[in-house]
Amino acid sequence: MSASPILRAAVIAACSAAVSCTGSHHMLDGAGEHARRVAELWWLMFGVLAVVYVLVCAAIVAAVVRGRRSPADLRMVAASPAQERRMIITVSATVAATAVILFAFLVATYSTSDALSSLARTPADVTIKITGQQWWWDVEYQDPVPSNTVTTANLMHIPVGRTVQLILVSADVIHSFWVPNLAGKKDLIPGHQNTMWLKAERTGRFEGLCGEFCGLQHANMRLTVVVQSEQDYQAWLQSQRLAAAEPSGDLERRGREVFVRGPCVMCHSIRGTDAAGFVAPDLTHVASRPRIGSTVPNTREHLLRWVRDSQEIKPGNRMPPLALSHEDLDAVVAYLETLK
């Protein structure tokens, strides 16, 4: 195990260097209680099994070297009874050692599972309902006051150090909620309601992914998790509770008109307007989200491409290509950009 801290540092350094520009998604770089404990279990098992593997390989090599005493000699070899007995003892001992190691792993596993399930017994500070859809995440912050309920898509802000309860349901097929830095997977299954608990231990931006194959765009079903201080989190929540702001410029106003009178309204909703479609992401604060269609970064250029023909970016997704006129397109994009 002495090599493992160095190895561990090297692995994490290499990986975080590669992903530092966006959110991280390395499961050993634990930023939540769950992931951290699992990483500890991982390093324990990895250390022991690495030693075991080296020993077994050494035994194979030693056997080959010893076995090649006289390769040209085709005679049968017969081990002496004493030698056979020694081999029986050796093999039995190694099998026993295997059993002991496995038993130790079992104990380690149970104790980790136990520690993790204790999180579920603490009262939740935040409850979020996550609905998996082909191929995006609907994230709903539940609140006793219905008007305080916040709905967002492919984005989840959580406060650091607090217990977050996730209620996981699916609107169509099986998905699996997975933010590697925070915790292991939990499936979203039609007809079942699953619950999981998170406790983030440091702030940062982390990438979530769909862990269960769910059709054409399984690869691009992402979720960004932003872990913030309690204060920042509350500020964010407050801002999300607001309805969409009244657009200021003419272009933006025209954009809203196109949105509300045109095809967008069939599926999307923007609180504070007449748009109340319920089958696609809520766009009330779309400009504050990191990605468009959980695929490309949220820039004006990408937004333009997405609205014009999202199939080019995420083929098979449910948003039809919209042959809007250039003017309408510019206006809609300008309007969406105001929805901070």
Partner: protein, 171 residues
């Protein structure tokens, strides 16, 4: 036997995500014929290629609910709006007539979806609507959904020959 299946097979399963601009254009109403300039579909007004394509009809079925057609027509059995699985077609049963009905709207409650839905999706919905009365390629028609069982699946729908009836006088 495999050869016999081959020819329609390819088309029946095709999944087209990118559609050409005329089809992607938002459908606009007040047109008495669906023969739109530059539109490859339908070649003849009586034909809708999507009636042979399983994926497109399944999309039509999804959109039928997403766009809340089921709000009035229920699952095809009718409610506030007329039933879609019987032989009565007030405004015509051909694909282009259904297309116009969706896009232009009709008196007595059918709203116009012109300006809201792209052409190709209207054709997908039209294909699905005709599957309710068994008037499409049955092998490609949708089967049951993962929801409450309220009617026979489209693939097993009895074919009902359309008996077009005249539109009722405006009230």
């Amino acid at each position: 036997m495999l050869c016999a299946l081959a020819a329609p097979g390819c088309k029946r399963e095709e999944r087209a995500f990118r559609v050409e601009p005329p089809q992607a254009a938002i459908a606009v109403g007040t047109r008495l014929t669906s023969l739109q300039p530059g539109t490859p579909l339908p070649a003849r007004s009586q034909e809708n290629e999507y009636e042979k394509n399983a994926f497109a009809m399944n999309e039509g079925k999804r959109l039928f609910q997403w766009y809340n057609c089921s709000g009035c027509h229920a699952m095809g059995g009718g409610g506030m709006g007329p039933a879609l699985m019987d032989d009565k077609w007030i405004y015509g049963s051909s694909p282009d007539q259904i297309f116009s009905t969706v896009v232009e709207g009709r008196p007595n409650g059918m709203p116009s979806f012109g300006g809201k839905i792209p052409n190709f999706q209207v054709w997908q919905i039209a294909a699905y609507v005709r599957s309710l009365s068994g008037n499409v390629d049955q092998i490609a028609a949708p089967t049951r959904n993962d929801n409450m069982h309220v009617k026979t699946q489209e693939q097993s729908a009895e074919k009902v020959a359309p008996a077009d009836s005249a539109p009722p006088p405006p009230q």
